[in-house]
Symmetry: C2
Subunit: 229 residues, 2 copies
């Protein structure tokens, strides 16, 4: 089939077109070089401001540690993150004393979400880290610290039941710890991105303002008494 | 209902927590101010490089005009854009001599896609512009130049049939001109974004290399011989 073969061969152009295409290619190379320089400059700006922001994030974390249940409150008030958190997980997250998002020095290649826990009845770890980075082939990968559950406290064991039950009720199927251990599609980890780009940049707004829409949607058993003491 | 009212009132915290929250807020303000400065610097870098790239884009467009059917070829070879283009529209796009994407000076507020046509049997316009900008309420809007179709040449009249027929065959329902006149969800105009962020930055790659996967998917008449020579 001579005709269809010739379609796949490099096209041949008349001399004038060939010259024009080479000129376009040369413009394209100039544009590419400028794009690369622009990216480098933007990266430098981002790195500079990451460094400038760091002391304020550190100071913020020190202060947050003084407020009991700051992170779990912000998380259960967050419109997306709250959907993840199963009741037992919420109990566990009361031991979360510090959360930190750390971008890699070159920013583009990855970041870590670090969860710091105080002594708790659920697991031995004091730090759980979920990390996103580029694999050897250049595609996004994620890993996370293995959780050393204490005896009879392994919340992941009941995840399957919880997930099935939640699916039936039309709720978000993932739970916090099933998200934490899931490395199936790291390039589309919406939860990690919400933590990095929304919760971490400003958790105070979620600590202070409960997501009332969501609150109403999920709780069917009469009204909540709130945080009155 | 006294109870539900109290949920909407500002929460009360003990003095120590209140002070800590104010300190967090003050860190947050410092971080916000740095974010704003970072955005401004990045915007300046982007503006600078837009200016530096402009002469190469202009030169590229001048050369492209010398190559017959450059844009229509690039478009029918493009994996997403090709799915839009109905046969009659392809005939019409043979008269497209120039395409241009113009970002607004401040970049963030919008951009225009300009299509320049030579004298053609379909419509009177020599320029069709689809523009994306922020409306008075700050949300994205789009507009496009009205097409002055010549007698009996109004391709949009047959769009409904074409779209119904395409839907039945499981193909992309939109066509090029139905996309052009559609302003239903400007914040999610994937086609406009593909033109701005993929076709416009490098059309040469699509002009030179037909999208073979897509070619095979759409053409059912006989097998392709692959790249043997
Ligand atoms: Ca909630
Ligand atoms: Ca194609
Ligand atoms: Mg609880
Ligand atoms: Mg044709």
């Amino acid at each position: 089939d001579h005709e269809s073969e010739s379609e796949d061969e490099p096209q041949e152009f008349d001399e004038e077109t060939q010259r024009a295409l080479e000129e376009i290619d040369s413009c394209q190379n100039e544009i590419d070089a400028l794009n690369e320089k622009a990216s480098e400059e933007i990266l430098k700006v981002e790195q500079k401001y990451n460094k400038l922001r760091k002391p304020f994030f550190d100071k913020r974390n020190t202060i947050i540690e003084k407020i009991p249940n700051f992170w779990v409150t912000a998380m259960v008030n967050h419109p997306q993150i709250s959907l993840l958190i199963d009741e037992d997980e919420e109990d566990c997250l009361h031991f979360l004393t510090k959360l930190e998002v750390e971008e890699f020095e070159d920013i583009k290649s990855g970041y870590r979400i670090k969860f710091f826990f105080e002594e708790n009845p659920f697991f031995e770890n004091d730090t759980l880290i979920k990390e996103f980075h580029l694999g050897s082939s250049g595609d996004p990968k994620s890993t996370s610290t293995e959780i050393k559950w204490k005896e009879n406290m392994d919340l992941s064991k009941k995840q399957k039941e919880v997930i099935t039950m939640r699916r039936k009720r039309g709720l978000e199927a993932k739970t916090f710890f099933s998200w934490y251990v899931d490395h199936g599609d790291p390039s589309a980890d919406d939860i990690a991105e919400v933590i990095k780009d929304d919760l971490w940049p400003n958790p105070l707004q979620y600590y202070l303002v409960p997501d009332l829409d969501n609150e109403n949607g999920l709780e069917e058993e009469g009204s909540d008494e709130g945080e009155e003491d």
